[in-house]
Symmetry: C2
Subunit: 566 residues, 2 copies
């Protein structure tokens, strides 16, 4: 009988259990052990905000299979054939002897667990700023079941009325929603000029406005100076600008730090970005050790550079690859990340795949072309909702580099479609005639994604001469004086209006009202409508009538991220 | 001053107006005219079923922009700069003289309209079977505004209690839903063994069961012999098997026939499939004439063969290409179709892209591999719904040939994702580690699409040895006697059960209950659970314990298309 391979996995949340279960499936003779520090294992951490916010009440749902079995060590051994030790911390790795020293967190006892292959899935921990008061009771994070339990109790107790969330990233914003749904007054503090850094500023701003309209306050461009308290209990958050926000709860959500101590202490290579270095087999610098999930760094599929991508979906997929390679030898590779992500923000969603404009420019693309599109997600008569997208393209090759989408509409489908286009390394020309599933309950005849590609095609071919809302605002603030033309109907104009000195000429009248337009054919004219479809048509009409400097305001009224007159 | 190019478009529904508007945008000097036989133009025909079914009541919504302007000739001239003549029929084309003879359907007057480029967008008409009684009052189709008005009046009048829909395709099934929502008893008659031919039989059957559970009757495998009536009014539908179904309404939905008479009479090439032949510029055999929409045949993007694809999204995209080429010379190409489509069927949706298994085999692929996957569309605790997919792959190359998906879950996102994977010509290996947008409100950590690819990967690598429900049923019917193993929990088994002689051994007990399994290690064992995830794990456990002929029933209980014990 051949030797049973011993596979040890450190970390029992997402990547670890996946790797363990996969290894056992592909080598049923293997002896697979998970070492997990926390009392629980196989936690759906991404679900914490929804448990805290009361979307569901059954705590066990976070730990259970769809058919209701709790994924505890009993489950793992009986269903998955995997041994799991919870409340057990791996404290060091002996690479020579191929053992992991473990501490039983109940008894404090140490023991050495031998391995043939080791898989590190130690995840990440929340970043904590080194500022005064960070250890006060009431300052917390949302990273563990313990955190989730703590915040859920606050919801159930109704004991707290004001809270501050520090950090406007995905987890911060989800936490903001959860607490707001719990009836708590929320202020989100973000150090950067915007929330949700996977979006470019103007789309993030639309989300920010939406968060505000849901009665949660957002303050950007400001740092937290410290926490103030009484008797060890938080009473307020102090900002660097001097403001003090009274509150009894502060949730830190300013990013995560990969847990690499074990790896570092064992002498494994740590990458430039701070994650454990792995090759595309998910193998570390020691061929007997793999690493997966939030503790590693990955390759970015577009830039080819190393990056961190702490996402639950990738943790599972990486685990699956490492689990296979650990038992069968290096068979399969993990191709890296597109940083594809999404989050729900009250009635809006925000998603992104690939590079934002900012990232593309930082990465050194010289000819970055972007366009903003706004449209409904399906026909008006089917109960449509708005989508606002931004597509980022390499102007030299036409290759799509990234797509962002926000709004109340079906953002998930947009981003899934876009992500798959990026996986196929498709160009704008490749997708303008894509054959997608169309029926009125699901999309417009020309789906929003394809329409966005049409706009980009028009822009690349010099047919759509447009500017982003940021550019227009900058020009106006700098004292430029373009003629601003709103081509919506009078009814629309009465209901909602940007208010930047625009003149209203409905598109249907435009061809007969050239006398109401600037005499100077070189004066800059900026056209728009609700979404700038009619704005685009107006621009073409004016150009063909002889105006030489006509622009379209991308996304129209709906994508205007600044204040509106009404 | 250069000559104004004269563009004439015949047909004013979807492809025609799109071509016209696009031509005018790209050549604002052009004189663009639409000739449209019907009284309305620019109709959202795909919305008819939803208007008939009462999803909305405003008839004008079918003809309006999202901002409420009716797309009539006034709108076209003022907003799009395009002249449109409704109630005008093109009766012949003089290719030598480059004129179209038109008849004013009010006055009967004829006139000749000259063109530099002509675009045919004459669409398609419903197929009518040459059977007795087809002209009785009460026998109709759902293809025009007139038809929609007729059926909507029936809804509003509540005058009819029983109707028959002939044809179980997309339009037939949508019509069935619309009439059922109007409180009418429906029977759908389908000549073939299944409804919705874009699905393979077993997925279509799941839909058929769903239609039945919504109190509409479905009869497959039977032809209509004729219609019977009294005083010119329909009273019943006679089937070839002798049955007569009493009813006062019958809707024919047995497919469409491209309107090619004008083209044929003018001597243009008609393709093998019956559509007008065009190249990839959408140009007919006459370089001055383009053709687009339901009246043409296209290239299938996977097989490379000619095919018909009467879809509203493609009509628009083809129109957009021809509009450009007509004014700027042949600039852009239309790459063809994947037959990507979707429809809503009560609380289920059904979608497909690329080739079904049946089509792939008909097309001559020698090594067609398929797999059925069932899973939730997001975590249980977020209010998940079921998805059932079938993936079709070329086993020689791993290339994905097609994906079908049905169920109450988010089918549209699945099919959009799959369609984009097909556009990228991706293989299974390319998508197993795709980076899609994951958050609990939108998907599982391993999205259903990726999970389907995982199953396929496992199957291609010989790890998942499975059979489709059809194969198992066939074996059972042929008297084979596999040992059938259900590995769900006792509670699940009590609630729902296939009832084909299965033995229940919950997965968690399996490793200790080998004595309850066949002694003969070569006896065929077929494992399943609710979706066959645990079924797969069970199969691996049994294989490693020495059973040599273990199979997984694909899709488990949820994808079982036949009757169940309970
Ligand atoms: C509130 C929240 C919301 C999120 N939402 C999303 C989302 O919507 N979409 C998305 O893609 N991602 C989301 N994420 C991220 C996602 O949860 C993580 O990417 C994923 O959990 C990472 O899995 P992992 O197994 O690598 O690490 P972790 O989940 O961090 O697990 C690591 C485990 O290792 C254990 N461990 C660490 N060190 C040791 C040691 N020395 N010995 C033993 N055990 C050890 C810890 O106890 C821990 O349980 C969210 C995360 C949070 C917290
Ligand atoms: C009920 C229903 C539901 C549908 N649902 C969907 C769906 O969910 N998804 C999808 O993708 N597709 C769907 N379709 C198909 C879609 O509507 C068609 O593909 C699309 O309308 C085709 O557009 P077309 O412009 O090519 O042709 P048509 O819409 O058929 O229009 C052709 C026009 O040409 C005019 N015409 C014809 N001959 C002449 C002539 N000699 N002179 C002047 N005018 C002429 C006719 O009056 C007609 O209005 C549905 C269709 C129907 C009927
Ligand atoms: C659940 C968990 C333990 C993984 O266990 P697993 O056994 O690898 O995964 P599953 O139970 O989903 O699937 C088991 C196998 O069945 C296969 N499978 C899934 N559905 C199937 C179906 N309908 N038919 C046949 N096989 C199926 C899968 O492909 C998988 O096999 P593979 O990975 O070898 O290809 C791990 O993902 C985990 O702990 N998750 C919870 C936490 C988490 O993901 N958190 C982060 C986000 S919140
Ligand atoms: C509406 C219809 C007349 C087409 O007209 P159109 O002017 O070509 O199309 P739209 O009004 O949608 O768009 C106009 C232009 O604005 C562009 N556009 C769309 N949204 C935009 C935005 N937010 N900003 C800037 N430009 C935008 C489009 O790309 C298009 O230009 P292009 O095709 O040259 O690239 C035609 O599609 C039609 O009749 N449809 C109704 C019926 C139908 O489609 N039926 C079948 C399915 S039910
Ligand atoms: Ca992702
Ligand atoms: Ca389509």
């Amino acid at each position: 009988m051949k030797e049973r391979k011993r596979i040890v996995v450190i970390g029992g949340s997402a990547a670890g259990p996946k790797a363990a279960a996969r290894a056992k499936r592909l080598d049923p003779d293997a002896e697979v052990t998970i070492i997990q520090k926390a009392p629980e294992m196989s936690m759906a951490s991404c679900g914490y905000p929804y448990y805290v916010g009361g979307v569901f009440d059954n705590r066990n749902a976070l730990l259970s299979t769809p058919y209701g079995e709790v994924r505890d060590p009993h489950f793992f051994v009986h269903t998955k054939g995997v041994k799991a030790r919870t409340l057990t911390e791996a404290v060091s790795i002996d690479r020579e002897g191929r053992t992991v020293r473990c501490r039983d967190l109940h008894s404090g006892d140490l023991d050495d667990v031998p391995y043939d292959k080791l898989i590190l899935a130690t995840g990440a921990r929340p970043r904590k700023p080194p500022i005064p008061g960070v250890d006060l009771v009431g300052v917390t994070t949302l990273q563990s079941m313990k955190d989730a339990d703590f915040l859920r109790r606050i919801r159930d107790d109704k004991s707290i009325t004001k809270a501050v969330v520090i950090g406007g990233g995905l987890i911060g914003i989800e936490t903001c929603e959860a607490l707001q749904l719990s009836g708590i007054d929320i202020t989100v503090i973000e150090m950067l000029p915007q929330i949700l850094m996977f979006l470019d500023w103007e789309l993030a701003k639309i989300l920010e406005n939406h968060v505000r309209s849901n009665a949660a306050n957002v303050i950007t461009d400001v740092k937290v100076a410290g926490f103030v308290g009484e008797n060890g209990q938080l009473t307020g958050v102090k900002l660097e600008n001097g403001t003090e926000l009274p509150c009894h709860l502060a949730v830190l959500a300013i990013g995560v730090i990969p847990n690499t101590d074990l790896a570092r202490d064992a002498g494994l290579d740590i990458g430039q970005t701070g994650g454990i270095a792995v090759d595309d087999f998910m193998q570390t610098s020691d061929p007997h050790i793999y690493a997966v999930g939030d503790c590693v760094e990955l390759v970015h599929r577009i830039t080819g550079k190393k990056t961190r991508a702490p996402f639950g979906d990738l943790a599972n997929l990486e685990g699956r690859v490492a689990g296979e390679n650990a038992v069968l030898g290096n068979q399969v590779t993990f191709p890296g990340t597109l940083h594809t992500g999404i989050c729900k923000v009250f009635d809006f969603s925000a998603g992104s795949t690939g590079l934002s404009e900012l990232r593309a420019r930082q990465e050194g693309y010289e000819n970055v072309v972007t366009v903003i599109n706004a449209s409904l997600d399906k026909p008006e008569f089917m109960g449509a909702k708005l989508l606002i997208s931004k597509m980022v393209v390499d102007g030299n090759t036409g290759k799509i580099l990234g797509v962002q989408c926000v709004g109340p509409g079906d953002v998930a489908k947009q981003i899934a479609t876009a992500a798959m286009a990026l996986h196929g390394k498709l160009t704008v020309a490749d997708v303008v005639n894509a054959d997608l599933p169309y029926a009125p309950p699901f999309s417009l005849p020309i789906d929003h994604f394809i329409a966005t590609a049409h706009l980009m095609e028009n822009k690349l071919k010099g047919r759509l001469k447009s500017m982003s809302p940021i550019e227009l605002k900058k020009n106006l603030d700098a004292g430029k004086d373009p003629f601003i033309l709103d081509v919506r109907t009078p009814d629309e104009f009465e209901a909602v209006r940007i208010g930047i000195g625009e003149t209203l000429i409905p598109i249907g009248e435009l061809r007969h009202r050239f006398e109401d337009l600037p005499e100077d054919r070189d004066r800059e004219i900026v056209c728009f409508c609700k979404i700038s479809l009619r704005g685009y048509e107006a621009a073409l009409v004016l150009e063909s009538a002889g105006w030489r400097n006509v622009k379209v305001l991308e996304g129209g009224v709906m994508a205007w991220p600044f204040g509106r007159e009404k």
